[in-house]
């Protein structure tokens, strides 16, 4: 008989390296037509990082995502970056980009101030314009300012900067310290169907509510969460590298190492918690890794709710769940 159950799991997860310095640097160049080029040493690994980083630069310069071209991943041309690891790209590289874009923007403010008869600190960059704070009708197009800065003033609007999260070393005896600058939080709730005659578990539905601070690109955040859940479902139910008694992997191929496909994916309801981290770039934190963290735990709790067996060794294969059900039945008989 198929029995349904529900289970929840919440989690916390840090952004960036543990104590260790993990800086990123960035260079932002504003072109004379009002577009910009961003140089970053990170690499696009499929998560959409370059789009998000471009959006961060665009936000600081008051221009659109499409106005920013991102150059990445070349040690000859791009500044150092600790890389696409530790859910750090949006937060750490993003903070470096905000600072680099602010430096470039400052050159635009200095070039525009005499033209608008104000001081540089009375200016803001919004909607592709450099405008007077409180008097948005007094403005110059950013393209005109960038051109003026480069051609007449002789100071092209190029900014470079870096960021490294502030941490405090952990005491070697007690571990007390500040290993990370910020953390994200999340809850996932799973609904499963367990066949109590075969042990097969089908994940029917997962509600995932994640915190990433201010989402820079909500669509890409949702994509990350969906992908993380898929990895979590595999971790919960199927995926396991097995070794023989001489240390040889038994299943080093995708025929015998079973991972979820789209057909195994449950119905998903992905939501974000309203949040803003003042230490992040435009309020953002990160989202890459934490999406995969609570899924297996939520599924194990749902299996327990469905059939009353507690799986304490991952993954919860049908064989393992069935053995646990039989043991439970034997104890109750």
């Amino acid at each position: 008989m198929k029995r349904t159950g529900k289970g929840m799991a919440c989690m916390w997860y840090p952004i960036g390296f543990t104590v260790m310095a993990n800086p990123s640097a960035a260079t932002v160049k504003v072109n004379t037509d009002g577009t910009a080029t961003l140089l970053t040493g990170t690499v696009e690994t499929g998560q959409g990082a370059l789009t998000v980083l471009g959006q961060i630069a665009a936000e600081t310069l008051g221009i659109a995502t499409d106005d920013v071209h991102v150059v990445s991943g070349d040690t000859d041309t791009t500044p150092m970056d600790t890389g696409a690891i530790a859910s750090r790209t949006t937060y750490v590289t993003g903070n470096a980009i905000v600072r680099a874009a602010e430096a470039a923007r400052q050159l635009l403010f200095e070039a525009a101030a005499p033209l608008l008869n104000v001081k540089p600190d009375q200016l803001e960059a919004r909607d592709k314009k450099i405008q007077v704070l409180g008097f948005p009708s007094r403005f110059l197009p950013i393209s005109q300012v960038a051109h003026h800065a480069e051609t007449n003033v002789g100071k092209p609007a190029i900014g470079s900067s870096s960021y490294n999260p502030p941490t405090v070393e952990m005491d070697p005896e007690t571990g007390q310290g500040k290993p990370f600058n910020t953390y994200v939080y999340a809850t996932q709730i799973a609904e499963v169907e367990v066949d109590d005659e075969t042990g097969e578990v089908v994940v029917k539905r997962i509600v995932a509510v994640h915190d990433c601070g201010q989402p820079i690109n909500p669509m890409l955040v949702e994509g990350q969460i969906q992908g993380g859940i898929s990895m979590g479902v595999g971790y919960a139910l199927q995926e396991e590298i097995l070794f023989d008694d001489q240390g040889k992997q038994i299943n080093p191929n995708l025929t015998n190492y079973i991972m979820p496909t789209s057909l195994d994916m449950p119905e998903l309801d992905v939501q974000l918690v309203d949040n803003y981290d003042p230490t992040g770039p435009h309020g953002a934190k990160g989202v890459g890794e934490p999406t995969a963290v609570p899924t297996a735990a939520a599924i194990m709790n749902a299996i327990y709710d469905a059939v009353g067996v507690r799986i304490t060794t991952l993954p919860a294969t049908a064989e393992k769940v069935m053995a646990a059900i039989l043991e439970k039945n034997a104890q109750e008989a």
Binding site: W12, Q55, E59, I63, T75, I85, P179, P294, L314
Partner: protein, 463 residues
């Protein structure tokens, strides 16, 4: 700059003859299969809107993926390029007595071979440099490379591997991490198998347990997991006439990758260019160099560009995988379900080399108590070497393992005390300003909000 067509017309795909005008080029397709490639799609509103933050802007790279224009390393070819393969160990733990590559080198189509003795600094690793690029004295797991071949094709390189003769002398194979704690068999002598550990202590755990109304003790275990990126590890090395080497690599962190290259090749960083290509999935598995020094040296030997793309089996056996954890959780609570004390002991199966274990044990230990206010806490974790595949960085760095433990036990506690799982979590959850297990004051904390929002969306009826 003219380039050769990369794909044939008969394969019903685009032929690009001129990379400069590729994007605007008239696309020739076989008439029988008239496919219109929308190369001049208008940009979406989200990409054109200000402010930029908060916009669900589409990805420029996604469009190239959709059009098949993304160039992964396997798509990149250079004139006179040759292909490398690496011979993996037949043993999980053995001394290498000899490696004879002469027969392989004599094969038609083979340009060069390489062994560990030819690598200027034959060690690497992000935390400790305990891993050889190619093993030359000892193999410590079946994924260790012992020799490499560069040949005219992957097939010839693969055939040549069979001609390499390696003589091993067996060493005892250590697979069980709990057994490894005893140090009876050493994998990196004279070092202990326990190569890193972490302790976190807050409050007085014994006192907290003594004051508890209920104590729960459970053991949880997790498995090895592979990242399975759709694009396996791949790289191309080209050593030029000025002694400068360029690497196109699927590595996710090129700045530190170049440092590792500089160290292993004993070459100044200014002589190394590392290009991170679009990566077809990383998930933590592409955060350290693998074949890159081998390819660089094979390119230096042959004067040709050398490519290596891992097979799926290479990916499983020789790249890093997720750490299995053995986790003992002892938790004391009062009648209301408030956690008074938690004592945790964890053993991480570190595999044959350290890789990113330092980070995994650190994050795992810090996070192990869960997003809960616990005044009395003790976490002790040990990572041990075994003769199994190296465990390293993988999405979550220990967090999925410990979350499975702390959240499973949370439900055990809730069940015993007759408290709803949502309720017990709310009673213990971090709030703004809570102190973490390392006594860090937490900000922008939304555990409670995420719990309530998820419960609402799910339709969770409190029991």
């Amino acid at each position: 700059m003219a380039t050769k067509p990369t794909q044939d017309l008969d394969q019903k795909t685009i032929v690009i003859e001129d990379t400069e005008s590729a994007l605007n080029a008239p696309v020739r397709v076989k008439e029988a299969h008239p496919i219109i490639y929308p190369l001049s799609l208008p940009e979406t509103e989200e990409r054109k809107a200000t402010p930029a933050v908060g916009q669900s802007a589409s990805r420029p790279d996604a469009r190239l993926h959709g059009l098949g224009q993304t160039k992964y390393i396997d798509d990149i070819k250079f004139p006179n390029m040759i292909y490398a393969k690496v011979l993996r160990s037949e043993k999980a733990h053995a001394k290498i007595i000899s490696i004879d590559t002469s027969e392989a080198e004599a094969m038609p189509g083979v340009y060069a071979t390489l062994t560990g003795k030819e690598i200027p600094t034959n060690t690497f690793g992000p935390t400790f440099q305990d891993q050889p690029v190619l093993s030359d004295t000892v193999v410590r797991h079946r994924g260790d490379g012992v020799a490499a071949v560069a040949a005219v094709s992957e097939q010839v390189a693969q055939e040549a591997l069979k001609k390499i003769k390696v003589v091993y002398e067996d060493l005892p194979v250590l697979l069980d991490p709990e057994e490894a704690l005893k140090d009876e068999v050493l994998i990196h002598p004279p070092k202990s198998n326990i190569y890193t550990s972490k302790v976190i202590k807050k409050g007085d755990v014994e006192k907290g347990l003594a004051e508890s109304d209920h104590i729960f003790t459970n053991r949880y275990k997790t498995q090895f997991q592979e990242h399975v990126p759709i694009e396996p590890h791949a790289s191309i090395a080209l050593w030029d006439g000025n002694g400068r080497v360029t690497l196109w690599s699927s590595l996710g962190r090129i700045t530190l990758g170049r440092e590792d290259m500089s160290r292993t090749l004993n070459l100044p960083q200014s002589k190394i260019r590392m290009i991170g290509t679009i990566v077809g999935g990383n998930f933590g598995g592409k955060n350290e160099i693998t074949n890159e020094p081998i390819l660089a040296l094979l390119s230096k030997k042959t004067g040709r560009p050398v490519k290596c793309t891992y097979t799926r089996e290479d990916e499983f056996v020789s790249s890093t995988i997720r750490h299995p954890f053995i986790m003992d959780f002892t938790t004391g609570v009062n009648k209301e379900g408030k956690i008074l004390a938690r004592k945790i002991k964890m053993i991480l199966d570190g595999g044959a080399y350290c890789s990113w274990t330092g980070t995994t044990i650190g994050k795992g230990s810090i996070l192990a108590a869960g997003p809960y206010n616990i005044d009395n806490l003790q976490v002790e974790s040990y990572a041990v070497y075994t003769n199994k595949t190296t465990t390293g960085a993988m999405r979550g760095f220990g967090a999925p393992q410990v979350c499975f433990a702390y959240e499973s036990q949370m439900d055990e506690i809730a069940k015993t005390l007759g408290i709803d799982p949502l309720e017990i979590r709310l009673r213990n959850a971090f709030r703004e300003g809570s102190l973490s297990p390392t006594s860090q004051t937490l900000h922008s904390v939304v555990v409670e909000e995420s719990l309530l929002q998820a419960a609402e969306a799910f339709g969770w009826n409190r029991s």
